[in-house]
Symmetry: C2
Subunit: 254 residues, 2 copies
């Protein structure tokens, strides 16, 4: 049992070229891979390694399974897209530990950071996160919708660039539109907005617009939406998509 170990691995946005050697080593060492099916499907098969694929929105069940296998002496890798700590599996694993068996607290758990979707998207756009920024999940499965709106307002009024995770889903198709409405009350209509889907993967798609014209139909569950701050600028280019960047300087007095 002393050899058992639980890794929580950030796989990055998709391709192996955006995954760290540290993450690869953990995947290599694992007896068992636990994760959302489509993430596991991106990884090569390894002889003797078991896979436990599950559906979306089953994070706590997945964490329980991984912890149960680890206390049995298996080396387990819980696989997350992007960075494991950002709206991903690390919080579910530690929530399960806190509420679960005392033995789980004695496990060796190593979280392996990865390239997050928000930073991969920002890199494709230029430098939109050049100033202070925040990340907000729009899902109201785990928090009240009023709190989501309050956080959006607070972030916009304070001048943060906003990375929006989980912008909508089939069960809540109206949320991103409502978020844009709230932001329009707090930010200039010309504030840049970028829709970034499947960054680093073959179906990558980016659309750049502004808050006035931001259309929720441009997003699906795979999309990260970046909302600029008043200091975010568009650099036009001949025959190419513009770059976005947020000035490191803010002249504004508070």
């Amino acid at each position: 049992m002393s050899a058992s170990k639980l890794y929580v691995v950030g796989l990055g946005p998709g391709p192996a070229s955006m995954r760290t050697p540290q993450a690869e080593a953990a995947l290599e060492a694992a007896n068992d891979l636990v994760g959302y099916g489509p993430y596991l499907a991106r990884l090569p098969d390894r002889p003797g390694q078991r896979r436990h694929a599950s559906d979306n929105r089953e994070e706590l069940d997945r964490a329980h399974l991984a912890l149960t296998l680890a206390v049995q002496g298996r080396t387990v890798a819980v696989c997350s897209g992007g960075d494991a700590g950002v709206f991903a599996m690390a919080a579910a694993v530690f929530e399960a530990v806190e509420q679960g068996e005392p033995a789980w607290r004695t496990l060796e758990i190593e979280v392996i950071a990865g390239v997050s979707a928000m930073f991969a998207a920002a890199a494709r756009l230029g430098a939109p996160l050049g100033g202070d920024f925040c990340a907000i999940s729009l899902s109201d499965n785990l928090k009240p919708w009023e709190l989501v709106l309050r956080r959006l307002r607070a972030a916009a009024e304070a001048g943060f660039v906003i990375a929006v995770y989980n912008p909508l889903s089939r069960a809540r198709p109206w949320q991103l539109g409502a978020a844009f409405e709230t932001l329009r009350a707090a930010l200039p209509t010309k504030t840049p907005v970028a829709f970034c889907a499947a960054i680093g993967r073959p179906d990558e798609a980016i659309a750049i617009t502004d808050l006035e014209h931001a259309d929720p139909a441009l997003a699906d569950m795979r999309t990260l939406v970046l909302i600029g701050a008043p200091t975010t600028k568009v650099i036009s280019r001949p025959d190419a998509a513009p770059w976005l960047y947020t000035s490191r300087s803010v002249a504004e007095r508070a």
Copy 2:
């Protein structure tokens, strides 16, 4: 001239094991490396590759040099610690492009995302960024100090976990203490606070305390300070450092 390319590379927190293959390929392809001296010193020498090391706080000069070399037909890698887009070189490069020669807009510029200091620190602690979060640079070199305080207050009141970059320096040793004072007015005294220095490097050091006892003397310029939200919890462990995690759920009504 058509072969020239400018990479802006996120080196990650330090060790090669936390650097992506994409970043390594850019470093390998470059004729010229441009960056802060200590970051360049972490990279292996390559025959025929030129190094342009500069001091801290010379970001715009560094960006100008890199762009000038690139339009001359060189392949250039601007090297940033962590992720290049997070309080690092990407914003300086695009700021220089916006204000500089028209030819710079025709360059091929590729930003390569990396593992940021905040996500590497979070991974070491558990899952402190499990909910909505923000990142704030405490430096008032480029924005008014009143705005820094206003953002800290807004973030705390809205329930974001806060990652504090550039917490203090020799020129502004008092800022982190003032930030803690402001946060104490908005958050419970038992809110977890973590000081994370040199994550992933041999001199890595972590201290976990709470807002009541948070002592600015625990930080220097290399330290990332994480301030929990009201939903951030400490998981105690027998004979080991505690884990921090932020609950994915918020029961609070706005």
